[in-house]
């Protein structure tokens, strides 16, 4: 094993141990609320990373990713309250429903030329779903949302978040690993060529729409997983999960964390959720602080926090090598 690999292995093991020990430390020394917050970060990190496959890798400015997050969340919730579907089956169906939504929305959207039109169309689709869920009261319970979505006793969050934390950690780790492999795969590399120069991609033989649609469906699938994780964390869901502001938040996470680094958007999720939580305990104008932070990041570190860390690590390693 080379030194670099050894360092990576040690760092990976340390992170894994820390993540396993985290709930006990948090419950013992801090409070349950922070464990809830950590799970929320995991959910958003997963959503932001899946979104980034489309935005950061594929260069597609989707303003409607809430559609897939919401599709996953509502599929789970409706299956749980309207049928006798067991939780694991509802959980597995959610990403499939989200991927189907991705296929339909993507089918129309990837044909559109121009970032503005693409953004508008994806936003319109998401808002359409929002209105549908909001108005179709007899089926979706409308703006009342769906309450009392119970997990099996083992994952219940009534007394403790520990078990659900581990569940979310395992599910999201599997998803992160698959997405990481996809990002590094030939498919991921071709996606990056589409972001960089779609005209040139065409002239190396890439059927652009096929790749874009595939990316859309894959991204929607993992957004659906995030939506399902969210539902069992909150034990309720409201039409707001489809709202444009959710699509906007996930975009901000990408910008904050850095879109060209795999873990950038997850880092953006950590920053956003923590800032939201801490600042709202002092003032209701938390959006103002996020806005200022974002302006500073875009002006001084357009590559995002993740991009900045990545650059620093690379230059440190280069210095050591020299």
């Amino acid at each position: 094993m080379t030194n670099a690999n050894k360092t990576k292995w040690i760092a990976g093991s340390a992170v894994a141990l820390a993540l396993i020990a985290l709930p006990f430390a948090v419950e013992t020394w801090i409070s349950q609320y922070y464990l809830y917050l950590i799970i929320k970060i995991i959910v958003w990190a997963l959503f932001a990373t899946s979104f980034n496959l489309v935005m950061g890798y594929g260069g597609m400015m989707s303003f409607g990713h809430a559609a897939f997050y919401g599709a996953g969340a509502y599929t789970c919730a409706l299956l749980m309250v309207k049928t006798s579907c067991p939780m694991p089956l509802a959980f597995l169906t959610a990403p499939l429903a989200a991927a189907l939504a991705g296929l339909v929305i993507g089918y129309f959207s990837v044909k559109i030329k121009g970032i503005f039109y693409f953004a508008t169309l994806t936003l319109s689709f998401a808002q359409l779903l929002y209105i549908l869920v909001f108005k179709w009261r007899s089926f979706t319970f409308g703006d009342d949302g769906i309450q009392g979505i119970a997990s099996p006793a083992l994952l219940s969050t009534l007394d403790t978040y520990v078990n659900y934390y581990y569940f979310a950690l395992v599910v999201s780790s599997i998803c992160f690993y698959i997405m990481w492999r996809i990002a590094k795969s030939p498919f991921g590399m071709i996606l990056r060529t589409l972001r960089e120069n779609p005209e040139r991609s065409t002239f190396i033989g890439v059927r652009i729409q096929r790749y874009r649609l595939s990316a859309f469906v894959i991204s929607a699938f993992f957004s659906g997983v995030a939506g399902a994780l969210y539902v069992f964390l909150e034990t309720s869901v409201a039409p707001d999960v489809f709202k444009w502001s959710v699509s906007g938040e996930v975009l901000l996470m990408g910008l904050l964390g850095g879109m060209h680094v795999f873990f950038g958007p997850a880092l953006g999720a950590v920053i956003m959720v923590l800032l939201n939580s801490f600042i709202t305990s002092y003032t209701e104008y938390w959006g103002l602080f996020i806005g200022i932070t974002l302006i500073l990041i875009v002006l001084f570190f357009p590559q995002g926090v993740g991009g900045l860390i990545n650059e620093q690590l690379r230059s440190t390693m280069n210095r050591k090598a020299a």
Binding site: R181, I182, K184, S185, P186, F187, G188, M189, I190, R192, T193, E196, N197, E199, R200, T202, F203, I204, G205, V206, R207, I208, R210, Y211, S214, H260
Partner: protein, 252 residues
Amino acid sequence: MEILETKGIKKSFGGVTAVRGVDLQVEEKEIYSVIGPNGAGKTTLFNLISGFHKCDEGRVLFKGADITNLAPEKIVQLGMGRSFQVTSVFPRLTVFENIQATSLVTGGQGLSLFSDASKMRLKNTEEVLSLVELVDKRDELAGTLPAGDRKKLELGIVLATRPEMLLLDEPTCGMSPVETTGTIELIRKIAREMSLTVLLTEHKMDVVFSVSSHITVMNFGVVIAAGKTEEIRNNKLVQDIYFGSTDQPSGR
């Protein structure tokens, strides 16, 4: 034997006719140039042949098959690669990734989801990197390369599609005389080694006359002369219309 033929192709943009019924016959394994002043319709002609624009009228035949208005990616798959006047590469990908991505698409592995693209050893990528003399710069970002190397990289991208024919739109545009000589030598060498047909547009007349076996001269979207290089060099009409004098063209 002809590898490419255009028959009366026409293209208008709004009220402006850019190409008015151009006929072209390019023989296999030759270097063929299309010249003409700015606005003559050379790049539009390239765009029509390569599928970038759709023809209003006329036909394009490649290896005997009708490729008129076929999608560019399909034309690439049939064996025709092209470069652009403004160098077209993937700027935030490394030199290696630029070529590797192309090799993956060419090899039909582009949709593979779980192999590590950077670690796949593809013979095509290594061969092309060495052909365009960019092995030493494989880890540099394409966007940070000097203009001459970017042109070489674009040539490498085109070669990685394993073409039978290259369409090169002003391959030495923006290059110094030294870089120009090097690039033309490189194109010659590659065309010879890989048995390629080359169709190019170029503004530098010394380049055109030194590499081409046949030349077509265009002006205002029409062909004003076509023939062997020597015939074009001595064509009075070409000298009058294109060079604005009866002096022998000696380069610009």
